[in-house]
Symmetry: C2
Subunit: 325 residues, 2 copies
DNA sequence: CTGAAAGCGCTAACAC
DNA sequence: GTGTTAGCGCTTTCAG
């Protein structure tokens, strides 16, 4: 383990000088002779010196590390990447803080112990967020998240309005008898609400079907002879397509189907699914930028509302051509 | 920021005593009176003391942090989770080290600077791994990965043998005219090799079709009237199903299809895909355990070869019943 | 049983 | 321009 001390000894200068040279402050403050600078640099190189970011952070009182609290489900990788990329751009790196058994307080405490400068809550449900002792943590730790950790504040991503995009699209295509399949997922329920609101606005009758472990509702949907079906998630949509296939029905010839999420699988069903993209990566980049801005200035950037992007594929139109990858 | 010093002052004891109590060594070494222990603990609690893991790590010379170097593609989340879970079990946490522009040396250097105790290379191609200056890094930093960082050593996951499982399954089902679709992905090519070997062993004729941006091979496959098609990835399999659907062909009635990977989408195609599961999570757990074992003892655990698990679904049999979720 | 003292690697005032 | 000095928060001998 080569330290600055070793370099100082080898180059016959003081530790301070080495510190000055290696931290790059010598250029700005012009206080060290070029020869010395060169010698120190060469010695550092020769000895294979590797700076200790840990200590540097500790001494300066900033770790340059952000925490990310999550259970890390598969679909959130884009979020992790978004945070990581944006963090890197600002000289931060990311530490994973697993949310174990929903114990958010434990996760937050370990963030504090690790002296991360801020944390992002990612995919943490409201039920769990509520359990956190925010009075204790918020004053000590900047927290960012897709949703606001404090109950009752606006979501960044508006599920309702995004779901309405699909209904609008169906109406535009001339469909009137539009069904909705949902389950009891936190977000899915919001999308269902969006469907209901939008149907009301279009003065159309609602047809709601809930999928549950006890009861497979797809059969019923098919018997109901819809013109189009809005599914609260791409999973539900794909399962509907499977059921249709078993009944030798074809989409969109027999009826149109749309999902929600733009999951990878939505491009690989037959036909590919019309869906709504929740821009995870971009949200994460924005969230991370906000977090860092808050850390640096103590102020939050204004909270923008984000609405998904409708992605039209074969499942709602006559054109079944699959997209190029 | 409450420090041990503050606690010591408040409780009228020395810093050492506080350190002893809070690090839990007082129980073992029985050197501190219960009253003092109690007082220190209460004072720490009262003051809201939060230990500084950074400093502790630095002083002890071990950070208790592992690095994970990757570009973090979506499908590797299970790997990240596996590493994270296993690391947590051993008192480690994980730092993400993004692999930017394939610059593996930069990534390794930042691992060194962050004083992680070891790193895992995850989903890093051989082409990139070769560029690393292993002579410099390996002596300084324990490295683990799904594949060995040093070229030429065995892979943990045997793609060939795993691919052969599918061919065996096809043969068992009585299929003889078995096609293979592949592309030029590093792993996919290995799976193709597995197909070829296995076909030779079964004394069957090989039919190879390569998918490329220039040329869509699915059409050709369909015209070839296969009995079964092994696809080098679930993506390829799903695209084949899409093409079949456009031609009003049904799987498995017209011919059987199998993929590779057990990606989420493989459960959601119509019919669901027979595929091979690469146990990412379990591999990661094993990899992480090996890494930690190496860090602690300097010895590698014997390298186990892992073969995938064949998952039989509707796309290769007459039973198109989709699985329950 | 408890406390004083040294040191981990680095930064940053402040003299020389 | 360069070196001295004093910390940062914590662990760890080693006396008392």
């Amino acid at each position: 383990m080569i330290t600055m001390k070793d370099i100082a000894a080898e180059a016959n200068v003081s530790r301070t000088t080495v510190s000055f040279v290696l931290s790059g402050r010598c250029e700005k403050d012009q206080k060290i002779s070029p020869q010395v600078v060169k010698k120190v640099r060469e010695t550092a190189e020769k000895l294979g010196y590797i700076p200790n970011d840990l200590v540097q952070g500790f001494v300066k009182g900033k770790s340059s590390v952000l925490g990310i609290i999550s259970t890390f489900p598969d679909y959130l990788m884009p979020l992790v990447r978004g945070y990581s990329d944006e963090a890197a751009r600002h000289g931060y790196s990311l530490r994973l803080i697993p949310l174990e058994k929903g114990d958010i307080n434990k996760a937050l405490m370990s963030a504090l112990r690790a002296r991360v400068e801020g944390v992002a809550l990612v995919g943490v449900t409201e039920r769990i967020r509520e359990k956190a002792d925010w009075d204790f943590f918020l004053p000590k730790l900047p927290v960012s998240g897709l949703m606001d950790p404090v109950k009752g504040r606006t979501f960044r991503f508006n599920q309702e309005k995004s779901a309405a995009l699909v209904v609008d699209h169906f109406v535009e295509m001339g469909y009137k008898k539009i069904f909705c399949i949902y389950d009891k997922g936190e977000y899915v329920l919001k999308r269902k609400d969006g469907y209901c609101k939008s149907m009301k606005e279009h003065l159309l009758q609602e047809y709601l079907f809930m999928d549950s472990p006890e009861e497979n509702c797809f059969e019923k949907v098919i018997c109901g002879k819809p013109e189009a079906v809005f599914c609260g998630s791409d999973y539900l949509a794909a399962r509907l397509l499977q059921e249709m296939s078993k009944h030798f029905l074809r989409c969109p010839d027999d009826f149109a189907v749309a999902g929600f999420g733009n999951l990878v699988l939505s491009r690989f069903t037959s036909p590919p699914l019309t869906t709504v993209e929740e821009p995870y990566y971009e949200n994460a980049v924005a969230g991370c930028r906000n977090l860092i801005h808050f850390i640096r200035t103590g102020e939050s950037l204004p909270r923008e509302e984000i609405i998904g992007k409708l992605i039209i594929r074969g499942s709602t139109g006559k054109n079944c051509e699959p997209e190029k990858e």
